[in-house]
Every structure is written in structure tokens, then in C-alpha cells.
């Protein structure tokens, strides 16, 4: 079995790579849907292979298999094989990436049908899938880093897919640069890992890590640097602003990259390094703070957004915040669980949003939608399922995963629980606000003729909604008679922190109270947006101060522009115009100028005036004699 795994593991990333090469190189020869079909088929093959690997691994009885393809870098002590690590964590991620990826690819066939550069689109999507698979399958940090940068780059390409629009290009560049800021921290972290453990391979590092003392400064530094990378990639405070802007890309891109897979790479990486993080309590606390702050902050911003994709983007940021919170609490497998369910329901939400945008002819403003429930029943139902899931209504998947995190928070500190619950309530509110505004009421934009999307788009929606509804059953906690299957499954790859279990009565109490609050919130949203049919104010209208601040996303973008971009540009000008042109250049030229000035000066002595020469000669003789006399 192990031999089989090692012999076919490379196929998983190879299929998308092949797809990339075919659709990329032959992009001018492929007709309308061919590129999409090729790409989707290959990603599906990849999914099937991953499934096969999953069952093989289960039946082999081994926890992990390392597949070495070749030696990538071998210089001195530094030995980096190009190797894949197939274990329970990576196989989970592979299944999510290829599974959700395949669905989104299929969906894209319909969504991108009319685009003239559809082949390029699928090529880039396949390249992304390939990079993401490298990321999750890599057996050492460097291979992970290849995928890490690769997905960042593909995200750059896909955000700027409609490159005619300079604003989109700017958004793409912003995403890439912000990711790169994180990547710098990440690569420094990797280098420190290497110098500490003399290896970058996961298995070797984690086997050595046990010998380290918890809280050692080196470990803290490493984990913080790795965290910086994760913060950049997973859009946490302070590097989150690129994610809402990244909605410039086509909607399937947002679903695949900016909801289901790439942004969760940071979570995956930290979960992967759980052993190191367990040794660094300071970093864990930082993560709790960051995650919680992001979760609430992004949710608050989400309350006032009117662009359907922006709402979802801030919701993604917020959900990622929950995952970070879980990571910070040491509940790594809960984070991965939430990651999984989030991949289902957020991809579904985005695809649904794509379906709506598709139907509305490109309109993304929720104030102009409305009453779509009747026109697009499938989209409505799937969207509803996803909304219920993200809000945490049982028995939808989001309930189980979020509840697990909330419980862990309560175990740690009730205050954390209250804050996290607050964030969840806000999430619930803005999601239902979105739902009501889009699907209920009457249609507000008369020019649009909404219609249900073609089957190629709705079938992925349906499959994903099924997953969103029942995804939670992957990991039913003991409270509900389950066995925490996913947690158990991941146990071999992730070392979660052991905490005191809450008594089941407390847990049930918490669940009931939170459910009651959720119901209240839904009712409130219903009263506001359906009964009273309140429309969010237009941007120009005056709002209360706080409302204005929230609607403008707390002016974070502006602050960044003011604090970073402007000074940077100023510095650049200063360096070039002042230091370069007024200091260094003149200094060098000055030597030349001084020489020629001196020449001009001396030239005057040499004017050819004979009597002057005679005088000079006499003067020279005089000096000479005087010199002799004196000496």
C-alpha cells in the first residue's frame, strides 16, 4: 500500500499541472468550452486520485508516507528534497482543494462562458490548483513555500484577470505585495527553523521539537515569523485589506482562492506546525488576540457593506479570524474542521453570489437586487443553506465547527467566549441582511432580467449545499453522541493542546443561549429588511459618525495609504531627487568639476605672457636661494 501511495502521489499535483500546460500552451486552439472541460476533468482526476490515496492510507494503517521525487537543493547541510508528505492532515486538505476546486472549475465553465480569455482563465485556475496542492502536500517548509508563493502569484494573476481595469490591476498588485510582506516573515522563519533544527523537513523537525523547552526565545521567534506569513496569507489584522479588494477577480476565483483554499493556507501551515506552536505560549496568545480582533472587526465592517462580494469577503476575513482564534487556543483540529466547513459554505456563498451576479448582468450592489427568491429558486435554496451554515444554526455544518471553537474559548476564558459569540451574532446579522435584501422584497433594478443559472452552474451549487448542510457530521462531538471523527483522524498529524473538558451541562447551556440569541438576531434582521424593507443608505447620504466610519471600513485603507504608500513614494522621490541627484551625483561629478576648475586656474598662469614667466622664474630662483640660505 505504501509503495502504491508513493508511486501515485505525484499524480495529484501533476493533473492540474498538465491541465495548465494544455490550456496554457494551446489556448488559441481551444474552442469555447474545451478549455473548461479539460481543466475540470483533470482537477476531478486529481480529486479521484486523492480519494484513492485517502483510502489507501487508511487501509495501510500508517500515519504518514513521505514521497521523495528528487533532490531539489542540496548544498552543504541544507538538504531540501522535492518531497510530498501524505498524512491525515495533508490528505484532508488535498480532498478539500481538489474536491471544492473541481466543483468550482465545473461551475466556471458556465460562469466564464462568454469571456474571451476563458482558456487563460482555466490555465491560471489549474496552475493555482497545482500550487495549492504543492502547498498542502509539501513534506518540508520549502516545498510548502513554493506552493505558498505560487498560490500568491496565481491569486495575483486571477485578481487582475480583467486587466483592462487599472483598479483591478492595483488590487492584484496590492494582494501580491501584502502577501509578500507575510512571505518575508515566513521565509525568515523557515531559515531560522533550518538553523535551529538543521532540517526543514516536517517529520525531522517535529521529532526534534520535543526536546526543546517550551517558551524558548528561539521557538517564539520562529513561530512569530511563521505567524507573520500566515497573517499575510490568511488576511488577518493588519494585513487583511487586500482580501476585500481581491474581489476584483471573477467570482469563481473568489470562491476558490479567497474563500476555500488559499486564504486557509495560513491555518493549514500553523496547524501543520502545531508542535512548534505548542512550545510558544506567547505566540499562541498573540494569535488569540489577532484572531478575535479580526473576527469582530471584519464582521463589524461587513455590517455596512453593500457590494455582495465585499460582504462575503469581510465575512471570510472574520471566519479566518475564528480559525486563528481556534489555533491560538491550541485547538488546531477544530480550526481545520472549521476550515473544512468554511470551505464548503463559503465557496457555496461565493458561487451563489456569482450566480446572482451572472443573473443580474454583472450588478453587484445588493441595494439594486431583491426579490430573486422566485426567479432563482435553486440559487436561493443553496444560498439559504449556506447562510444558515455560516450563522451556526444546527444541524448545519457551521454550527458544529463554530460551536467547537466557542466551547474551546469558554474553556480558556469566558470573556473570550462572549466576544467570539458577539462576533458570531454580528455575522449572523449581516448574512441575513444580505439574504433578505437579495432574495426578499421586490426587484429594485428594473433593467435586469434575472434568470436561473444553467445547470453546469447549479449542480456544483447543489453538491456544495449538500456538503454545507451535512459537512458538520464529519466531526460530531461526543455531546451529540458522535466521536469527533475528524479530530481523531487528524490526531496523528496535529498535536492539539489538551484542555479541561467542560461539563456537558455547561456546554448545553451555552449552546441553547447562543441559539436563542441567534434566533433573536435573525428575527431582528427580518423585521428590519423584510417587514420594514429598510434599504441601506446610499453612499452619499449622511450617516451617523460611527456608521460612516464603518461604511468606510474604518478608513484602514486610507490610513495605510497615508502611513505607508505616501511616505514610501516620498522617500523614493527624496532618495532620487535629493540624495542621488543632489548629493551623490554632484559628489562624483564634483571631483571632475574641481579638477577642471583647477585646470582653468592653473591655465591662467600659463597664459604665454613672457614677462610673467620671467617674473615667475626670478621668483623661483629667489625662493630657491632663500631656501638654501635658511637651511
Amino acid at each position: 500500500m505504501v509503495a502504491l501511495i508513493s508511486s501515485i502521489a505525484w499524480l495529484v499535483p501533476a493533473f492540474p499541472l498538465l491541465g495548465f500546460l494544455i490550456t496554457g500552451l494551446a489556448k488559441n486552439r481551444l474552442k469555447n468550452n474545451q478549455a473548461g472541460i479539460i481543466a475540470s476533468t483533470l482537477v476531478s482526476f486529481s480529486f479521484i486520485t486523492a480519494l484513492f490515496l485517502f483510502f489507501s492510507l487508511r487501509s495501510s494503517g500508517q500515519d504518514s508516507v513521505t514521497v521523495t521525487l528528487f533532490n531539489w537543493i542540496s548544498a552543504g547541510d541544507l538538504n531540501i528534497p522535492f518531497a510530498f508528505l501524505i498524512d491525515h492532515l495533508s490528505i484532508t486538505m488535498m480532498l478539500i482543494v481538489t474536491g471544492v476546486g473541481a466543483l468550482i472549475h465545473i461551475y466556471s465553465i458556465g460562469y466564464m462562458h462568454d469571456d474571451e480569455r476563458v482558456s487563460s482563465f482555466f490555465a491560471q485556475m489549474n496552475l493555482f490548483t497545482f500550487s495549492m496542492l504543492l502547498l498542502v502536500m509539501g513534506a518540508n517548509y520549502l516545498i510548502l513555500f513554493i506552493g505558498w508563493e505560487g498560490v500568491g502569484f496565481c491569486s495575483y494573476l486571477l485578481i487582475g484577470f480583467w486587466f483592462k481595469n487599472p483598479a483591478f490591476n492595483y488590487a492584484a498588485r496590492k494582494a501580491f505585495v501584502m502577501n509578500r510582506i507575510g512571505d518575508l516573515g515566513f521565509i525568515l522563519g523557515i531559515i531560522l527553523v533550518f538553523f535551529t533544527f538543521k532540517s526543514v523537513s516536517f517529520t525531522e523537525i517535529f521529532s526534534q521539537a520535543g526536546a526543546l523547552q517550551a517558551g524558548a526565545p528561539m521557538i517564539t521567534l520562529i513561530t512569530i515569523l511563521l505567524l507573520v506569513g500566515a497573517v499575510g496569507k490568511s488576511a488577518q489584522i493588519p494585513l487583511y485589506t487586500w482580501l476585500p479588494d481581491a474581489m476584483a477577480g471573477p467570482t469563481p476565483v473568489s470562491a476558490l482562492i479567497h474563500a476555500a483554499t488559499m486564504v486557509t493556507a495560513g491555518i493549514y501551515m500553523i496547524a501543520r506546525s502545531s508542535i512548534l506552536y505548542n512550545l510558544a505560549p506567547i505566540t499562541l496568545n498573540i494569535m488569540i488576540g489577532l484572531g478575535l480582533a479580526t473576527a469582530i472587526f471584519a464582521a463589524v465592517i461587513g455590517l455596512r457593506q453593500n457590494d455582495i462580494k465585499k460582504v462575503l469577503a469581510y465575512s471570510t476575513v472574520s471566519q479566518l479570524g475564528y480559525m486563528f482564534l481556534a489555533l491560538g487556543l491550541g485547538a488546531y483540529s477544530s480550526a481545520v474542521f472549521h476550515l473544512t466547513t468554511h470551505a464548503f459554505f463559503k465557496a457555496l456563498l461565493f458561487l451563489g453570489a456569482g450566480s446572482i451576479i451572472h443573473a443580474m448582468g454583472g450588478e453587484q450592489d445588493i441595494r439594486k437586487m431583491g426579490g430573486l427568491r422566485k426567479k432563482m429558486p435553486i440559487t436561493y435554496l443553496t444560498f439559504l443553506a449556506a447562510t444558515l451554515a455560516i450563522s451556526g444554526i444546527p444541524p448545519f455544518s457551521g454550527f458544529f465547527s463554530k460551536d467547537l471553537i466557542l466551547t474551546k474559548a469558554f474553556e480558556n476564558n469566558p470573556l473570550l467566549y462572549i466576544l467570539a459569540l458577539g462576533g458570531a451574532l454580528i455575522t449572523c446579522f449581516y448574512m441575513f441582511r444580505l439574504l433578505y435584501l437579495v432574495f426578499f422584497g421586490s426587484q429594485r433594478l428594473s433593467s435586469a432580467h434575472p434568470h436561473e443559472s444553467p445547470r453546469v452552474m447549479t449542480i456544483p451549487l447543489i453538491i456544495l449545499s449538500v456538503l454545507s448542510v451535512f459537512g458538520g457530521f464529519l466531526n460530531i462531538p461526543e455531546l451529540f453522541g458522535g466521536k469527533s471523527d475528524l479530530g481523531e483522524f487528524l490526531h496523528s498529524a496535529i498535536t492539539s493542546k489538551v484542555t479541561e473538558e467542560l461539563s456537558s451541562s455547561t456546554e448545553i447551556g451555552l449552546i441553547i443561549s447562543s441559539l436563542a440569541l441567534l434566533g433573536l438576531i435573525i428575527l431582528m434582521a427580518y423585521r428590519t429588511y423584510v417587514k420594514r424593507a429598510v434599504l441601506p443608505a446610499a453612499d452619499s447620504e449622511s450617516l451617523s459618525l460611527f456608521g460612516k466610519v464603518v461604511a468606510n471600513k474604518f478608513y484602514i485603507d486610507e490610513v495605510y495609504t497615508l502611513l505607508l504608500e505616501k511616505p514610501f513614494g516620498f522617500l523614493s522621490d527624496f532618495f532620487f531627487n535629493t540624495i542621488e541627484k543632489a548629493v551623490l551625483d554632484p559628489a562624483v561629478d564634483g571631483i571632475g568639476t574641481a579638477t577642471s576648475r583647477l585646470g582653468n586656474l592653473v591655465r591662467k598662469l600659463q597664459a604665454g605672457n613672457m614677462s610673467f614667466y620671467l617674473f615667475a622664474m626670478v621668483g623661483g630662483i629667489l625662493l630657491f636661494i632663500i631656501f638654501i640660505l635658511i637651511v
Partner: protein
């Protein structure tokens, strides 16, 4: 006879100054000839009769005539006003004065030589010089003819119109 020395010296210096300060080139030449004649007197005083004669013949007879000849040839006999700026002339005088003082200072040591070397000259006549000239200095003497030839050729070359 001591008087003779001072008189000759005075004539020399006065003539030399006139050479410098008089404006007419002809006058310059005349004063210079006077100066050289006085110098010939000095040579006789120094018991160097041969030199005195040669001096008169070569300098006053040949060289100064050559000067005169050139001045006439170039029609420079009238006083041409070629004066340097006052500053230059003043500084020339000052420089000359300083030079005089410095040279005097430099020759300080000679002030005591006189005691060591009293006047003793008995070779100033043609025979005395000739013995030395044609014994020790024969080669330079012959070489000087080459110098003359080259000077002659040079002068002729310069004299040609289209060099």
C-alpha cells in the same frame, strides 16, 4: 689706482642703469658699449689683459655692432614706446632690489676670502692663457667651433623668409 677702480665701477653701474632705463634702443647700445669698455678697464686692473682685449674685440666690436646693426636694420632707432604697466615696472625694480640683497646675503662668505687669497695674478697675458687653453682645454676649445657652426646655421635658418 684705487680711485680708478671706483671710477670704473661707477661708470659701469651708471651705464648699466641707463641701459635699463633709457628709452631709445640706440642709446641703450651706446650705454652698454660704455659699460663694457669700463669692464675692459676692470679686466686690465685684474691683470687679465688678454681678456680685456678679447672683451673689447668680441663684445664691443662684434656683438654690440651686431645689436646696432639689427636695430638699424629693423628701423628701431627711434624711441618706441614699449612700456610695461607701472605695477610691473615697480615690481621689477623691487624684485631687482630684493635680488641684489639676497645675492649679497648669499655671497656673505666671500667677505673673508680676501684674507686667504691675496691678489696674485701673473698669467693674464696671451701666453699664460694660451698655455692653459691649448693644454687642458683643447677639446672644449675645438668643440666651441661646432657651437659656432650650429649657431651660424641656426641664425641663417631663422633669417630665411619662409621657414
Amino acid at each position: 689706482m684705487v680711485f680708478l677702480f671706483y671710477m670704473l665701477s661707477a661708470i659701469m653701474i651708471i651705464c648699466a642703469l641707463l641701459v635699463v632705463f633709457s628709452k631709445n634702443p640706440i642709446n641703450n647700445v651706446i650705454y652698454l658699449i660704455l659699460c663694457f669698455l669700463a669692464m675692459a678697464g676692470h679686466y686690465i686692473l685684474l691683470n687679465a689683459q688678454f681678456l680685456a682685449v678679447v672683451h673689447v674685440i668680441v663684445y664691443t666690436g662684434a656683438i654690440m655692432v651686431l645689436f646696432l646693426f639689427v636695430i638699424m636694420l629693423l628701423n628701431l632707432n627711434k624711441a618706441i614706446i614699449l612700456r610695461k604697466s607701472t605695477v610691473t615696472r615697480v615690481s621689477a625694480v623691487i624684485t631687482g632690489g630684493i635680488f641684489f640683497l639676497v645675492l649679497l646675503a648669499a655671497t656673505r662668505q666671500t667677505f673673508e676670502i680676501h684674507a686667504k687669497y691675496p691678489f696674485a695674478s701673473d698669467f693674464g697675458l696671451v701666453s699664460g692663457i694660451g698655455k692653459v687653453l691649448f693644454n687642458e682645454f683643447l677639446l672644449p676649445f675645438e668643440m666651441s667651433s661646432i657651437l659656432f657652426i650650429s649657431a651660424m646655421v641656426g641664425a641663417m635658418m631663422f633669417g630665411k623668409k619662409d621657414v
